[in-house]
Symmetry: C2
Subunit: 143 residues, 2 copies
DNA sequence: TTATTATTGATAATGGTTTTCATTATCAAT
DNA sequence: ATTGATAATGAAAACCATTATCAATAATAA
């Protein structure tokens, strides 16, 4: 089992949640995926290993993983219904609009911009949200 | 009538849309608001001037304004159902989490970051979304 | 093993958004 | 100003993602 998955199982247990079969399968899929997944995506995939899984359980599992900061929502033009393993620290998402692959990049360089904006607009800035869209290396070479 | 509103009316006409009363009222409200508004917000407000307005017309008007690049969606943790007059050029949204007021700021400083990310991740970058959350001056002084 | 209780899946309910359709209003041509 | 083609409207129904309900089941502590 991948390290990341083990870590997530521990986090769930530490918070008092039971490690049930449906929960383990859903957690394993999203903890190892490099693509953003909708509840329905997850459901269809997880059903292969747990045929009587209910869609509702996917929603409930995502809810817990989100509260634990393990997954985050992905915002897209066509909607904001997909999830992905959350960033480690101050990182932001870069999405391939062709294949859906997701990568994280550091947002360290953003602080100066935030300071400037805070001063110009007289706001105190608490949070920020940044996402990039583009084409990954593989999809570039495929034309 | 505010300049911005006149401009939007012209844009609608230029695209072959008729300037009906419901459409004019919805357009005027969102073109002059400094707050992001949900379809429901717009509906309730527009009804004051057009009592038999249907919620559906609000959705249809927003759809057209969005296609014309006049309004943009506002992404928030609690959902992405609000709209606001679109940015002029390379600008991004700064939202007050207390009162909902929205301001735009220049995103010119972001290009170097995008270049770095494109190189490091071997992506070509086509689009980006940035939104800041904070507290505006008024809300700061009110505690 | 047993008791407790969190979790599950099926079903129904919810709420926001879209579609359908008969009626109405706009606007170009007269 | 009037007309006619047709875009636009509002009401109702349909749709779909998400949430709540509840009896049955499964995971953990004792």
């Amino acid at each position: 089992m991948p390290d990341q998955t083990t870590t997530w199982f521990s986090a769930l247990e530490r918070s008092g949640y039971r490690l049930t079969k449906p929960r383990r399968i859903v957690t394993e899929i999203i903890s190892t995926s490099h693509y953003s997944l909708t509840p329905s995506d997850l459901f269809l995939d997880a059903r292969k290993k747990c045929p009587n899984l209910g869609l509702v359980t996917v929603y409930r599992t995502l809810e817990k993983l989100e509260m634990l900061g393990l997954v985050q929502r992905v915002h897209q033009p066509c909607g904001c219904h997909a999830y992905i393993a959350a960033a480690q620290g101050h990182e932001h998402l870069l999405l391939c609009t062709t294949c859906g692959k997701a990568e994280f990049f550091s947002g360290d360089q953003l602080q100066p911009l935030f300071d400037t904006v805070a001063q110009k607009c007289s706001f105190t800035i608490q949070d920020h949200w940044l996402q990039l869209f583009g084409t990954c290396k593989d999809c570039q070479s495929k034309g």
